[in-house]
C-alpha cells in the first residue's frame, strides 16, 4: 500500500524532471545567439573549437540525440561555462546553493517556531482580542511586499539605529574557509582564535534577512494553524470532552493539537518552495551570496548558460523538496495514502 504510494510519487518526480530537462535543453535554442555557445558557454568560437564542440554536443545529429547527450552531461556535472566568469556553472551552483538553503532553513525554522504557537493562541482565544490582534497582524504581514519590508527594516535597524549590518553573511575581515558552504558550520569548523566573535558577527548578519524571509511563511502558518484548530475544536469528540468538564488547556493539548497539526505539517513542507522564490528577492536586497542573487545577476548580464543551469538547479530543488514533504506527510497520516492521483 505505502510502497504503491511511494512508487506513484516517484513516477511523478520522474515526469516532472523529464519535462524540466526538456524545457532547459530547449532554452539554448530559444535564447538569442548561437545554441552551441549557449550550451557550452564558450562565446565566439573559432573554427577548430567549433568543430570540437559540435562533435561533443552531437550538433550534427537530430534534436533527440542532442537531448540525450545533454542529459548525459547534466548527470556528469558538466553544465557548461558561465559567460560572465568563464568558470563552470555547476561549480557555481554547488558553491552558492548552501547559502540559499541555509537562509531558507533558518527562516522556515523561525516561522514554525513562531507561527504554530501563535496560531494555536489565536484559536484558543477565538474572536476575543488576542485573536483579533494576531489575525490582523498576520494579515498585514501576509500582504506586505517582502522587498518593502526588507527596505523598511534596513532603514530603521541598519541605517538609523546601526544595530544590524545590511549585506553579506559575515564581516569580510573574517577569512572563513568555505568547507560546507553553511556559514555557521564553517565558522564552527574553522580553526582560528576569534571563532566566537565571528559567530556573533555571522548571527548579526543573519538576523534581518531571516526575519524578512520568515515573515510570509510565519503569517501563512499562523492563519493555517488557527483555522485547522478551529475546525478540529468544532468536532463532536471535542464537544464530548468539553461536556465531560475538561479545561481549555487540557482540551487543546491532549485532544485537539495532534489532529490539528497534521495538515500544518504538510503546509510547512509546501512553504519551502515559496520560500526559495522569496529568498531570491531577499538575497538581492541583502547582498546574500546565494543562488538567487547569482541568477538575477546572470539575467542582467545575459549569461545564458548560467541562467539555464541556475533555473534547472532551483526548479529541481523545489520539485524534490515538495515531493519529500508530501511523502513525510503521508507517513504521518495514513488517511491521505488513498489519494489516487499525485499532485504537486
Amino acid at each position: 500500500m505505502i510502497l504503491d504510494y511511494i512508487l506513484r510519487r516517484l513516477g511523478l518526480l520522474f515526469f516532472m524532471v523529464l519535462l524540466l530537462s526538456i524545457f532547459t535543453f530547449s532554452l539554448s535554442y530559444l535564447f538569442p545567439g548561437d545554441p552551441l555557445s549557449n550550451l557550452s558557454g564558450i562565446p565566439d568560437t573559432n573554427f577548430t573549437q567549433n568543430a570540437q564542440l559540435e562533435e561533443k554536443y552531437l550538433f550534427n545529429s537530430n534534436y533527440f540525440m542532442q537531448y540525450i547527450a545533454f542529459v548525459g552531461r547534466i548527470l556528469q556535472g558538466d553544465w557548461g561555462m558561465s559567460f560572465a566568469s568563464g568558470s563552470s556553472v555547476f561549480a557555481h551552483v554547488v558553491d552558492l546553493i548552501p547559502a540559499t538553503l541555509e537562509l531558507s532553513i533558518y527562516a522556515l525554522f523561525i516561522s514554525v517556531l513562531v507561527g504554530v504557537p501563535v496560531g494555536i493562541l489565536a484559536s484558543a482565544y477565538n474572536k476575543q482580542w488576542p485573536d483579533k490582534f494576531i489575525s490582523s497582524t498576520a494579515m498585514i504581514g501576509y500582504s506586505m511586499p517582502i522587498f518593502w519590508l526588507a527596505l523598511l527594516l534596513i532603514m530603521v535597524f541598519s541605517l538609523k539605529l546601526g544595530w544590524f549590518p545590511m549585506s553579506g553573511r559575515v564581516s569580510l575581515l573574517y577569512e572563513i574557509p568555505a568547507s560546507t558552504g553553511f556559514i555557521l558550520l564553517d565558522i564552527l569548523l574553522a580553526d582560528f582564535p576569534y571563532n566566537g566573535l565571528a559567530m556573533l558577527d555571522a548571527l548579526h548578519h543573519l538576523t534581518l534577512p531571516t526575519i524578512v524571509l520568515a515573515m510570509y511563511p510565519t503569517t501563512v502558518l499562523v492563519r493555517f494553524t488557527r483555522e485547522s484548530m478551529l475546525k478540529v475544536m468544532d468536532q463532536n469528540f471535542i464537544k464530548t470532552a468539553r461536556a465531560k468538564g475538561l479545561t481549555r488547556g487540557q482540551l487543546i493539548i491532549h485532544h485537539a493539537l495532534r489532529n490539528a497539526l497534521l495538515p500544518v505539517i504538510k503546509q510547512i513542507g509546501l512553504q519551502f518552495s515559496t520560500l526559495i522564490t522569496l529568498a531570491m528577492i531577499t538575497e538581492v536586497i541583502f547582498s546574500w551570496p546565494g543562488i538567487g542573487r547569482w541568477l538575477i545577476d546572470s539575467i542582467y548580464q545575459r549569461d545564458y548558460p548560467a541562467i539555464q543551469g541556475g533555473l534547472m538547479a532551483v526548479s529541481l530543488f523545489i520539485i524534490i523538496a515538495t515531493i519529500m514533504a508530501e511523502l513525510t506527510y503521508t507517513l504521518l497520516d495514513p488517511l491521505s495514502r488513498n489519494q489516487a492521483h499525485g499532485k504537486v
Binding site: 566568469s85 564581516s171 575581515l173 573574517y174 577569512e175 582564535p193 566573535l197 547582498s287
Partner: protein, 535 residues
C-alpha cells in the same frame, strides 16, 4: 582559601578580557574598501579599466618611477636614479637593491629584484620573443595606444642593478609613461616557474609584485583579499588585511559606509554626498582631477562617418541640463578635451552650443530630414568623469527626439561593456578617461590615435593621419612652447572634426570613516592604500 579562589577567578577574568581585546584588535587592523566592479585582471599591463587599476596597481606593485602629484616632478621608486642621454634616445635606470618579491602560497622567490625583472616586464609589451608576449592575445591597451612597440628599440642589461632603454627616437612622454600605473614591474622568476609547469595563463590572475600588499584570494562578485607585505621595502604597512568589497550599486555603497560595513568607498554618487557630509563619523574628500567625460561616435559606421551628422547631433544636446541633473554642480563643463588644470589647455571658442534649429538644418543638409535611429551605449558604473551615464543618456534621448533622432540606450555589465566597445560594436558611447600622468599626451594618444583604434581603445574608431602627425610632432620635441602649439592644434581639430564631444570634467570624491587616515586622492592616477591605517 577563599582569597585564593577569588584571586584565581579575577586572574582568569583578566585573561579573558585581555584575549578579547586582542581579538577585537585583529578585526580593527583590517580595512574594507567598497569597490564598484570586479577586477578584470591582476596585471595592470593588460587593462586600462580604472576600477581594476584602482584595486591592483598601487597595492600589489611598484613602478620604476612615479610622479609627485604636487610638484609634478619624477620621484624614485624601484629605480633610485635615471639618466637620459644627450640625444634623448637612451635612458638608464639604476635599480634599488634589497627589494623582495611577494612570498605566497603559490610562489616563493629565491632572489631579490634585479635588472632581469625589468627587462622581462617591459619586453613582454613589444618583443615577440618574450615567452609571455602572446599570453592573453598580446593585448596591452595602454602601451599599444601610446605606440610602445615603435618607441623602444631594445632594453639592455648594464649590470645587475642597471638597465638601459634604447629608443628609436627621443620622445618627451617616455618617462611619464614609465610613471603610469600600468608600468609596474613583474617577477621574471615567477613567470619562468609558471612556464616550466605550462601554466602561463595563470600569470595575470595570480599576481606577484613588490607592493605593500600580497594577494590572498579573489571571489568574483564578492571580494578581493590582500594581506600586508611585512617585507615592504618602502615603509611599514599598518594594515594587516585589505579587503575589497565588490558593490556595483552606488546607493548600496553609500549605505554600507553608513552601517560601517565599508571603511572607504569609491565614487560615492554626488547626489548623495549631502547625506554623507552631515555625518560627523564620515569624511568626504573632493579633489579636482584630470579627466574628461565625453560622447564618442563610431566614426567608421554610417551615418556617423558624416561630419554634418555628428555636428547636428552635438548641437541638439543641452549640456547645461546635463551639468545640473547628472553632475549636481560637482563637475566642470568642458571647454576642450583637456581639463583647464593641464598646462596645454586652450579654451576652444567654437565649442558646439545648444541649438536645435541649427541641428535640424544640419541634419537635413546631411540627407536625413526625417531623422534616423541610433544607439547610445551608457556605461553601467559610476566613474569620476561620468557619475550617471544612464541618466545622461536619457536626457540626450529626449533632446535628440526633438530633432527626429530615435535613441535606443544600451547597457551591459561593465567588463562586457568595455570589451564590446573595444570591438567597436556601438553607434555612440558615453564614456570618459581619467589621466594616468599629467602629460597632455595622455589625453590624446590613448584615446584618439590610430594605434589606439587598432588596440581597441579608441571609442570613436577615429584614425586621422593629420591628427596623428600633430601628436608625433608634439612628442618629438621637449620644447614646451612648441609642444603647446601642437596640442592647441590637436584640441581645435577635435572640436572641428567631432569624433567625440567633450562634455564635462568630474571631481573625484571619496567617502571614508573618520577613523581611517592616510588615504589621499591625487589629481591623476589610481588610488593608493599603502599608507592607510586605522586610528
Amino acid at each position: 582559601m577563599h582569597k585564593l579562589l577569588l584571586a584565581l577567578i579575577s586572574l582568569s577574568l583578566v585573561g579573558c578580557i585581555d584575549s578579547k581585546e586582542e581579538i577585537l584588535e585583529e578585526k580593527n587592523q583590517g580595512l574594507v574598501y567598497c569597490a564598484e566592479a570586479n577586477p578584470v585582471s591582476f596585471n595592470p599591463q593588460v587593462t586600462t579599466t580604472g576600477s581594476t587599476i584602482d584595486i591592483i596597481a598601487n597595492q600589489l606593485y611598484d613602478r620604476l618611477i612615479s610622479i609627485d602629484p604636487v610638484t609634478a616632478e619624477f620621484k624614485s621608486e624601484l629605480a633610485t636614479d635615471w639618466k637620459i642621454s644627450k640625444d634623448g634616445k637612451s635612458v638608464t635606470f639604476t635599480l634599488r637593491k634589497g627589494v623582495k618579491f611577494h612570498t605566497t602560497s603559490y610562489f616563493t622567490p629565491s632572489r631579490e629584484f634585479n635588472a632581469d625583472d625589468v627587462i622581462f616586464t617591459f619586453s613582454r609589451l613589444f618583443d615577440v620573443y618574450n615567452p609571455y608576449h602572446f599570453i592573453g592575445d598580446a593585448n596591452y591597451p595602454y602601451f599599444q595606444s601610446v605606440g610602445i612597440d615603435q618607441l623602444i628599440r631594445k632594453i639592455v642589461r648594464v649590470s645587475d642593478h642597471q638597465v638601459r632603454f634604447e629608443l628609436f627616437n627621443a620622445e618627451s612622454s617616455f618617462l611619464a609613461n614609465m610613471a603610469t600605473d600600468f608600468a609596474v614591474v613583474l617577477s621574471k622568476e615567477y613567470a619562468m616557474a609558471l612556464k616550466a609547469n605550462n601554466q602561463e595563463n595563470l600569470f595575470d590572475q595570480y599576481p606577484i609584485g613588490t607592493g605593500p600588499y600580497i594577494y590572498k584570494e579573489y571571489r568574483r562578485d564578492h571580494l578581493v583579499r590582500f594581506y600586508k607585505n611585512a617585507d615592504y621595502w618602502k615603509h611599514e604597512v599598518a594594515l594587516e588585511q585589505l579587503v575589497y568589497d565588490i558593490t556595483p550599486n552606488g546607493t548600496t555603497r553609500i549605505a554600507k559606509i553608513l552601517t560601517k560595513e565599508c571603511d572607504v568607498t569609491a565614487h560615492p554618487s554626488s547626489a548623495q554626498l549631502s547625506i554623507l557630509a552631515q555625518r560627523d563619523d564620515i569624511n568626504v574628500e573632493r579633489e579636482t582631477n584630470l579627466n574628461i567625460g565625453y560622447w564618442a561616435f563610431n566614426t567608421e559606421r554610417p551615418p556617423f562617418d558624416n561630419l554634418k551628422v555628428r555636428q547636428a547631433l552635438v548641437h541638439a544636446i543641452d549640456i547645461d541640463k546635463i551639468m545640473q541633473a547628472v553632475y549636481y554642480g560637482n563637475g566642470l563643463r568642458a571647454q576642450s578635451i583637456l581639463p583647464p588644470t593641464s598646462w596645454a589647455f586652450e579654451l576652444q571658442k567654437n565649442m558646439p552650443i545648444f541649438d536645435p534649429q541649427l541641428a535640424k538644418k544640419l541634419l537635413t543638409e546631411a540627407g536625413f530630414p526625417k531623422g534616423f535611429d541610433m544607439s547610445i551605449w551608457a556605461m553601467p558604473v559610476s566613474r569620476i568623469y561620468n557619475p550617471n551615464a544612464r541618466k545622461m543618456a536619457e536626457l540626450m534621448q529626449s533632446d535628440l527626439r526633438k530633432i527626429g533622432v530615435n535613441v535606443n540606450i544600451v547597457e551591459y555589465e561593465w567588463n562586457t561593456f568595455i570589451q564590446r566597445i573595444g570591438e567597436h560594436r556601438h553607434d555612440s558611447v558615453l564614456l570618459g578617461w581619467a589621466a594616468d600622468t599629467p602629460d597632455p599626451d595622455n589625453f590624446f594618444s590613448p584615446l584618439l590615435s590610430c594605434t589606439a583604434t587598432f588596440s581597441g581603445k579608441n571609442p570613436a574608431n577615429w584614425c586621422n593621419p593629420e591628427f596623428d602627425l600633430l601628436l608625433t610632432k608634439a612628442l618629438d620635441t621637449t620644447d614646451l612652447n612648441l609642444r603647446k602649439q601642437y596640442y592647441d592644434a590637436a584640441q581645435s581639430m577635435i572640436i572641428k572634426q567631432l569624433p567625440l564631444l567633450p562634455i564635462a570634467h568630474g571631481m573625484r570624491f571619496q567617502a571614508s570613516s573618520a577613523d581611517v587616515e592616510g588615504i589621499t586622492l591625487g589629481p591623476f592616477g589610481a588610488i593608493s592604500l599603502a599608507n592607510a591605517r586605522k586610528k
